[in-house]
Amino acid sequence: MSKTFDRYTGLLFLAIGAMFVVESFKLSQSAYGSEIGPNIFPMSLGIALILLSIRLVYETFRYTDAKKNSVKLDYKRFGIILIAAILYAALLETLGYVITTFLFLLIGFQTMQRGKVWVSVIIAGCFSIGVYYLFVVLLQGSLPPFPSWMSFS
């Protein structure tokens, strides 16, 4: 339990709650045949969230920080995989499912542990081609195909 995290998250949720309340004012106040418009529910929830956030921030001043069990976080590994995942999502529709999945898995495997490149290539290849074949060819589902400038599609 981290005091700082709790405090900032509390403030963040306070802002989110406030945003919902403010934005609810822009919604219509009534629906046909009813005084209860679409604004009531989000507005009251926003107010509830604000109150709870204030309570959380208040609580952070009350308790002492629990002793941290120092686990060293591997931010480098996480960063690489996170960026790879974002690129995977961004390029999926342009490069097609098989290519992006293969590259993402290869980067993922090698980031988790260097070495044995061929094993990684084989597993990544089997997964990307296997899922594509099973889903698109056998089950008639739809996934982004190979880009059109490649001769096979």
């Binding site: 989000p42 999502a89 993402f104 988790m112 899922v131």
Partner: protein, 508 residues
Amino acid sequence: MGTLEYLMQGFATALQWHNLLFAFFGVLIGTAVGVLPGIGPMSGIALLMPITASITSGLPAEAAATSSIILLAGVYYGAMYGGSTTSILLNTPGESSSVVTTLDGHQMAKNGRAGVALAICAIGSFAAGLVALTGLILLANPLAGIALKFGPAEYTSLMLLGLLAVSGLGGKSITKALMMTVFGLLLATIGIDAVSGVTRFTYDMPVLYSGLEFLTIAVGLFAVGEVFKAILERESNDGEIAKINRILPTKQDLKDSSLPIARGSVLGFFIGVLPGAGATLASFFSYIMEKKLSKNPKKFGNGAIEGVAAPESANNAAAGGAIIPLLTLGIPGSGSTAILMSAFIMFNITPGPLLFEEHPDVAWGLIASMFVGNAILLILNLPMVKVFAKVVETPAKYLIPLIIGFSFFGVYAVQFSVFDLGLLIACGVAGYFLSKNDFPIAPLVLGLVLGPMIENNLRRALTISNGDVMIFIQKPLSLTFIIIGILWIITPLFLKLRGKKLILNEEG
């Protein structure tokens, strides 16, 4: 038609060969999911939803729904069982509901009785499945009958009760749990309002018109969040895996464990029916109960077979019991049942009192398939214990990127949108940081599912009363629900003030 006839019809549905196959694969995948670190029952079900949807697309609508839900339910209780395998062999519980099993289960493994412990788990799970099934058959129709008399006010209060119960037991801090619930409800308001047709919080972005997709958020928060945790904290299963020698329990073992299994099953079932109190709580309570009832409590913690049998039956019975409020009232009481419910909705079937009238095939087929599934689980697990023990050894370096790959596939195959993939990644990051800091995720997911239902009923109730909030207090049933809900939140606070230690129901 009477209940028995319906049940027979349900069995006819469940025993169709393709449904048997679905139950078999569901249970098999579920057990693997439970055994593998990093994916729990919730992410397992969420990940399989798109795949089952496309496999069953050739069948007529109702049959497709039945088969898919049979498979997903199989994953649900298969995972419950699989979680205990790692507890016993590795001393690392796969799910929070099998934490208690480590106490005696791993001790048994150290004494060279790992196989027996696993077998007792399977037998206990089977017995618990039977108890849950009987309970379902007895309670389903009467409960659905009562629920039919509910008006919008009663429904709103009942759902509020469910949310409060999950928040009250959901984590270390009730404030945080309530915040997550409210946030989930708020997220559910994004999109086109079903009552008035007004768009809310969409800012003219077409992707937001249909609201944030539940599946994406659930997979992101649970599956991707868990994976990020494993990457950041370098978790790995390098503990030593106990050897499995003898599998079949002796007569003495069976004699020792039969009563604990019976007690655990009944207790677990009733705890499972309560909203918010799920499998984790059930396993803790039954362990404590067995320890109290035992003639020599010193055995516990040193490899007592009762200490494995009771909690394992309890958590499986609870998993079965948790399906009752979902089927009869249409209200999920936990994160996993919330995801099951979204599977129903995906097939255009709304669980609730009308389910038994409108789609008796689906409801009774599912109930009967739970029995069939449990039998398959028993048959499958005894000979395959060693295979599953091998699954535990899957190296994390391959598993983790593959889970991300599966999540991407699962989300994209249903949504066809890059926006959802972005949301998935964002939810993964948020899920990791939130759960690391004791912000429970299950209440958020539950809020997201129940949000539209609560809002519709709330507005209907308020429209009937012309905006008078007193309608929730004037109706006796509604008032009762509200009082119970408030008690659920206040009692733990009160106990905490008096310095009592609480058992938490954290679902992973």
